[in-house]
């Protein structure tokens, strides 16, 4: 006897698949301009959301610090010593560029004028763009920026650094799709996959 197929206790939910296209290109575009990787993948909503959030806080921080909070070179008389061991990794990075810049560079092109300014100053030229993102010439000049801008300098550095960190999340999302999510409702903790149908399974590019 053929038995009729049993109905599952929980009806199957509609799943969402994402075409990540080429994840490497998407990741590179996501770094180059926040949200561009998602636009390339035709994930327009998320692309615009990332673009708006990340660029808004980056430029807000930049304006707060009057364009001085993103710079890619230490003042000439403030080269940090390179340490050894695990902590030496940070000092090696810090010897190349100030540590905040490594995070700010996560926003891609918007932070790249600082690299242009660094190359100009290292080559003995004058900074461009009305000194925006130009490195301080001396420690005294950097100190004067701090005195002049007070907490706005620190807030500007913080905002621009967080923008860079957030773009690393966006790059990851462009390369691999959304991370598996914990259900918000504690009642749904038993089976997150079934209860969070809108979290899609990332589909690698074919």
């Amino acid at each position: 006897m053929n038995e009729p197929p049993k109905k599952p206790a929980i009806p199957p939910v509609e799943s969402l698949t994402i075409d990540l296209r080429n994840p490497w290109i998407a990741g590179f575009l996501a770094w180059l301009w926040p949200g561009a990787g998602h636009l390339y993948q035709r994930r327009y909503g998320k692309g615009l959301l990332f673009m708006a959030c990340i660029l808004a806080i980056f430029f807000f921080g930049l304006v707060l610090g009057q364009g001085r909070v993103v710079y890619a070179m230490h003042p000439a008389n403030q080269d940090p010593a390179v340490g050894a061991g695990f902590g030496g990794i940070f000092t090696k990075f810090a010897a190349i560029a100030p540590l905040p810049f490594w995070l700010q560079a996560g926003t891609g092109l918007p932070a790249m004028p600082a690299v242009v300014q660094r190359m100009r100053v290292k080559g003995g030229g004058q900074p461009l763009f009305n000194n925006w993102m130009a490195p301080p010439r001396t420690t005294q000049e950097l100190n004067s920026w701090h005195r002049q801008l007070n907490q706005r300098f620190d807030m500007g550095v913080l905002y621009t650094m967080i923008a860079g960190i957030l773009n690393f999340f966006a790059i990851w999302d462009a390369c691999a799709g959304p991370a598996p999510s914990e259900p918000v409702d504690p009642k749904k903790k038993k089976d997150p996959k079934k209860d969070d149908p809108k979290t899609p399974e990332p589909k690698p590019a074919t």
Partner: protein, 70 residues
């Protein structure tokens, strides 16, 4: 009495608005890295914002109590 506590007196209430843009951006971006559709993104962002604010508020309260005790 509360207003006489050094921590509260020193708190720059006028600068707390700096927290809002960061809270909104971080919550939305974090939610968007966990979901694909607007509804779940917004729900996750709301819960992240509440969690962050509660966490920071709890630390503030602990610091406030310690200030009061010392």
């Amino acid at each position: 009495m509360l207003a006489q506590l050094p921590l509260l007196a020193a708190l720059p209430f006028g600068q707390l608005w700096y927290y809002l843009p960061l809270l909104v951006a971080i919550s939305l971006v974090y939610g968007a890295t966990r979901h694909e559709l607007p509804g779940p993104i917004l729900r996750h962002a709301w819960h992240t914002a509440v969690w962050m604010t509660t966490f920071i508020g709890a630390i503030f309260l602990i610091a406030l109590v310690l200030t009061w005790l010392v």
